[in-house]
C-alpha cells in the first residue's frame, strides 16, 4: 500500500473543493465544497497517521469531523436566513460588505 495513493485522492478532493468554493454561486454547494476540503484533510491525517504508526492522526480527524459538523450547522443556518430574506441563495448577490 502506498501513501501516495491516499495523497493523490486527498489532492483531488481538495482541488474539487477549491473549485467548488470559487466557482459555484449556490451557497449550499459552497458549503459542501468546504466539506470536501475538510475531508481531503481528514484523509491526509489518517493516512500519515497510519504511516507513522500512531493514532494521533485518527484522533485529529475525529476532532476535525466534530468541528466541521458544528461549522456546517452554523453555515446552513446562515444560508437559511439569507434565503428567507432574499428568496435566493446566490452568493454573488450577497455583497452588503462592499467597501
Amino acid at each position: 500500500m502506498y501513501v501516495s495513493q491516499f495523497g493523490v485522492l486527498a489532492a483531488v478532493l481538495f482541488a474539487i473543493g477549491v473549485y467548488g468554493i470559487l466557482v459555484r454561486r449556490n451557497g449550499i454547494l459552497v458549503l459542501m465544497s468546504v466539506e470536501l476540503i475538510l475531508n481531503s484533510v481528514n484523509i491526509n491525517l489518517v493516512a500519515f497517521g497510519a504511516l507513522r504508526d500512531t493514532i494521533a492522526g485518527e484522533v485529529f480527524a475525529l476532532f476535525v469531523i466534530t468541528v466541521a459538523a458544528a461549522e456546517v450547522g452554523v453555515g446552513l443556518a446562515i444560508v437559511l436566513l439569507i434565503y428567507r430574506n432574499r428568496r435566493s441563495v446566490d452568493l454573488s448577490e450577497v455583497d452588503l460588505m462592499k467597501g
Binding site: V18, I21, L22, V23, V30, L91, S92, V94, D95, L96, M97, K98, G99
Partner: protein, 707 residues
C-alpha cells in the same frame, strides 16, 4: 511623721509600688478605652468607670508615696536616695535603645499625688456640673485620658517619653476646651490654645534633640542630669538646650508673652479649667524644669547670678498676670490670670534656685486654685453666668458653703498665715535671697529685683482676690432669679480642697521659726528634694522672720486697700459702680491710661493678632502687594508678552506649516492607500476565498522553496 511609721513594716521590705508605678497611669488609660467604646451602656454614662479608675490611681499614688517616704527614712538622714527607675526597651535603632519606663522619686510622687487627688475630686464634681450634657460620656472619656496622659508625663523616665506625654495632655486640653464647640468662641479658644502651644513644642523638640546629642545619645533623664552636673556636657550645649526648653515652658505654663491662650481656655467647662488649666497641665512646664534641673541650673548658671532668663520670665509673668486680673469682669478670667501669676511664681522660684519652694508652691497652689475654680463653677451653676459685674453679688446669703470655701482658698492664695499659700510663697521669696536677709541661692548678687517683683505681686494678689470676693459674694445681687446652693457632689469636693488649702502648707514649715519641734519642719523638702547625684547641689535659703512679717504685711495691705475701696466707698454709690479706679480714672489721666493698658491686656492679643498675624494682611502685606504689583508683576507681564509673541511665531511657522504639514501629509498617504485597497473589499465571499487560497498557495510555495 505621717503614716510612714505605722506602715513601715508592711512596705519597707519591698518597693513594689515604686517599681510598678506604671499601674498609676494604666488605670485611667484603660478607663478611657472602656468609656469611649462602652461608656453609653453604663447606667451613669461611663462616669462611674472614670471615678473608679482614678480612685484606684489615687490609692496606688498614695501607696507609692508611702513607700517612697519609708525608703527615704530607711536610708538615713544624710544618705543619698536614688530614684527608682524601671525601664523596658521600646525599640532599638542603630544600637541606641529607646526606652519607656517610670522614674519615681520625691518629685514624681508629689505630682502623681496632686494629679490623682485633684482629678478624683474633679471627676466627682463633674458628675453634677456637666449632668445632662449631650457629650457627658465623651467628657468623662477625655478626663480619663487627660489623667492618664498627665500621670504618664510626670512618671516619664526619658525625655522622649516626656514629649509623648506633653503632646497628649495638649491634645486633651484642646478637646476639653472645645467641649462645647458648637459656639464659635469656644472652638476658637481651643484652637488658640493648641496653636500657641505648638510654638513652644518646637522648643521642646529642639531642646530634647540638643540634649540627646550633647549627652552622648541618651534620652534618660537621670543620665542627662548627671552629665550636666558633672560637666560632661559643654556649657554652650546646656545653655542652648535650656533656652529651647524654656520656650516650651513659656507656652505650656502660660508664661509671659505666650500666656494669652490661658485666659481664653476658660471657654472650656469649669471642672476642666480647675483640673487642666489650674492644677495640673499648666504646671507641666514647671515640672519639666524641675525634672531636668541639672540642665537649667548649669545652663543658666543659676548659682552665683543675680538675674537669668527663667527668673526674669517668671518675675514678669507674675506681675503681668496679677495686674491683668484686676480688670476682668469674668470670674474665671480673674482666676486664669491669677494662675498665670502663680505659675510665674513657680518659674521665678526655679530661676533663683529655690527648687523645693517651687514644687511646694505647685503643691499648695494646686489645691487652693482648684478650689477657687470649682467654687466659681458652683457660682456660675447658680447664676448661669461668669460675669461678676452683671450677674453676681451678694451670693454669700444663698451659697454659704461656696462662699466659705472660696474665701478660705482666696486667703490661702493671698498668702495670709497660717494658710497654705503663705508658707510656699514665703519660701519662694526667701529663696530669692534679696537684701541679703536670707542667704539664698543667688550667691553674691542675690536676686533682689526678683524679690521686689514677688513682693509686689503678693500685694496685687491679695487686692484682686479681695475685689473678686467682693464682686461675687458681697453687695447687692445683680443677676436674675434666685440663686441656690449647689448639691453635695459639688460642695464636698470644695470642702476637701478648702481643708487642703489650709493644711497643705504645714508639711513644710520653716526650720528656724521654732513653732513646732525640729522633726516636724521641712518634711516636704526632706522627702521631695532629690539627694542623689542627678540633682545639683543647691544652697538653701534660711527662713527669715523679717521677710515673713514683711510679706504678710504686704498681703494684708493689699487686702486693706482693696477692701477699703470696695466695702467702704463704692458701696455708697450705685452697686454697678464697681469698676476698679472709676474714680481715679476720671481724675487722673495717668491712671486712666494705666487702666486702658490693663483692659487691653497690655495689647498682647493685639500684638499677636493685629500686628504679627495681621501684619501679613496689614502693612507688610501692602508692601508685599506693591512689590508684587511693581516688581513681580512686571516681570511676569513682560514674560507673558514675550511668550505670547513667541507663541505667535511658533504657531505660524512651526505649528501651521511644519506640524500640520506632517499631520496632513500623513493623512493623505493612508487615504490614497485606502482608496486603492477599498476596491479589494468587494463584499463577495468568493473573492475573499480566492484571496485566501492564493495567499495560502504563495505561503506553501515559500514554505517549500525556503525549507
Amino acid at each position: 511623721m505621717f503614716a510612714a511609721e505605722a506602715t513601715e513594716g508592711i512596705f519597707q521590705a519591698s518597693g513594689w509600688f515604686l517599681e510598678n508605678a506604671w499601674l498609676v497611669p494604666a488605670f485611667p488609660a484603660l478607663s478611657f478605652l472602656v468609656i469611649l467604646f462602652f461608656g453609653k451602656r453604663f447606667p451613669k454614662g461611663g462616669s462611674e468607670v472614670g471615678i473608679a479608675a482614678v480612685a484606684m490611681s489615687f490609692v496606688f499614688a498614695v501607696a507609692t508615696g508611702i513607700q517612697w517616704i519609708s525608703q527615704v527614712n530607711s536610708a538615713g538622714d544624710d544618705a543619698a536616695v536614688d530614684a527608682v527607675s524601671s525601664t523596658w526597651t521600646w525599640w532599638v535603632n542603630g544600637g541606641i535603645e529607646f526606652n519607656i519606663g517610670t522614674l519615681v522619686d520625691g518629685l514624681a510622687v508629689v505630682l502623681i499625688f496632686v494629679v490623682t487627688t485633684v482629678s478624683l475630686l474633679v471627676h466627682v464634681y463633674s458628675t453634677d456640673y456637666v449632668a445632662g450634657d449631650s457629650r457627658y460620656t465623651h467628657f468623662f472619656a477625655f478626663l480619663s485620658l487627660f489623667t492618664a496622659a498627665m500621670l504618664f508625663f510626670v512618671l516619664s523616665e526619658n525625655t522622649l517619653q516626656m514629649i509623648v506625654g506633653w503632646e497628649l495632655v495638649g491634645v486633651c486640653s484642646f478637646v476639653l476646651i472645645g467641649h462645647w464647640w458648637e459656639e464659635k468662641p469656644n472652638s476658637d479658644a481651643a484652637l488658640k490654645a493648641f496653636l500657641t502651644n505648638r510654638v513652644g513644642d518646637i522648643g521642646l523638640l529642639i531642646g530634647v534633640a540638643v540634649l540627646f546629642f550633647a549627652a552622648d545619645q541618651t534620652f534618660s533623664v537621670l543620665e542627662i542630669n548627671k552629665m550636666a552636673i558633672s560637666g560632661e556636657i559643654s556649657h554652650l550645649a546646656l545653655l542652648v538646650g535650656a533656652c529651647a526648653l524654656t520656650a516650651a515652658v513659656i507656652s505650656k505654663s502660660g508664661q509671659f508673652f505666650l500666656h494669652t491662650w490661658l485666659p481664653d481656655a476658660m471657654a472650656g467647662p469649669t471642672p476642666v479649667s480647675a483640673l487642666i488649666h489650674a492644677a495640673t497641665m499648666v504646671v507641666a512646664g514647671v515640672y519639666l524644669i524641675a525634672r531636668l534641673y541639672g540642665v537649667f541650673f548649669e545652663g543658666f548658671s543659676i548659682a552665683g547670678s543675680s538675674v537669668n532668663l527663667l527668673a526674669i520670665i517668671g518675675g514678669l509673668t507674675t506681675l503681668v498676670g496679677a495686674s491683668l486680673a484686676f480688670v476682668q469682669r469674668d470670674i474665671k478670667k480673674v482666676l486664669a490670670y491669677s494662675t498665670i501669676s502663680q505659675l510665674g511664681y513657680m518659674v521665678l522660684a526655679l530661676g533663683v534656685g529655690a527648687w523645693t519652694a517651687a514644687i511646694f508652691h505647685l503643691f499648695t497652689h494646686a489645691f487652693f486654685k482648684a478650689c477657687l475654680f470649682l467654687g466659681s463653677g458652683s457660682v456660675s451653676h447658680a447664676v448661669h453666668s461668669f460675669d461678676m459685674k452683671s450677674d453676681m453679688g451678694g451670693l454669700r446669703r444663698w451659697m454659704p458653703h461656696t462662699y466659705k470655701t472660696f474665701v478660705i482658698a482666696s486667703v490661702a492664695l493671698a498668702g495670709i498665715p497660717p494658710l497654705a499659700g503663705f508658707w510656699s510663697k514665703d519660701e519662694i521669696l526667701a529663696g530669692t535671697g534679696g537684701w541679703g536677709l536670707a542667704g539664698g541661692t543667688g550667691g553674691n548678687g542675690a536676686y533682689l529685683v526678683i524679690l521686689i517683683m514677688g513682693l509686689a505681686t503678693a500685694a496685687l494678689t491679695a487686692a484682686y482676690m479681695t475685689r473678686c470676693v467682693y464682686l461675687t459674694f458681697f453687695g447687692e445681687f445683680r443677676g436674675h432669679g434666685t440663686p441656690h446652693e449647689s448639691g453635695p457632689r459639688i460642695i464636698v469636693p470644695l470642702w476637701i480642697l478648702a481643708v487642703l488649702a489650709i493644711v497643705a502648707g504645714w508639711i513644710n514649715l520653716p526650720k528656724g521659726f521654732q513653732l513646732v519641734p525640729e522633726g516636724w519642719t521641712e518634711r516636704f523638702g526632706h522627702y521631695v528634694e532629690p539627694t542623689a547625684d542627678y540633682f545639683p547641689s543647691i544652697a538653701h535659703a534660711k527662713p527669715s522672720w523679717t521677710l515673713a512679717v514683711v510679706s504678710t504685711l504686704v498681703a494684708l495691705g493689699g487686702i486693706a486697700v482693696a477692701a477699703r475701696y470696695y466695702f467702704g466707698r463704692v458701696r455708697a454709690e450705685s452697686p454697678m459702680a464697681t469698676e476698679v479706679g472709676r474714680g481715679w480714672t476720671k481724675r487722673s489721666r495717668l491712671a486712666s491710661a494705666g487702666h486702658t493698658l490693663l483692659a487691653k491686656k497690655y495689647y498682647l492679643d493685639h500684638l499677636y493678632t493685629g500686628v504679627i498675624a495681621g501684619g501679613v494682611k496689614g502693612p507688610i502685606a501692602k508692601a508685599a502687594y506693591k512689590f508684587n504689583q511693581e516688581g513681580i508683576d512686571k516681570v511676569v507681564n513682560a514674560a507673558g508678552e514675550k511668550s505670547v509673541q513667541a507663541g505667535h511665531v511658533v504657531y505660524d511657522i512651526i505649528d501651521q506649516k511644519v506640524v500640520d504639514g506632517i499631520v496632513n501629509s500623513s493623512g493623505v498617504a493612508p487615504h490614497l492607500a485606502g482608496e486603492e485597497m477599498r476596491k479589494m473589499q468587494t463584499g463577495k465571499v468568493q473573492s475573499y476565498a480566492g484571496i485566501v487560497f492564493v495567499a495560502a498557495a504563495l505561503l506553501a510555495i515559500v514554505f517549500i522553496l525556503v525549507l
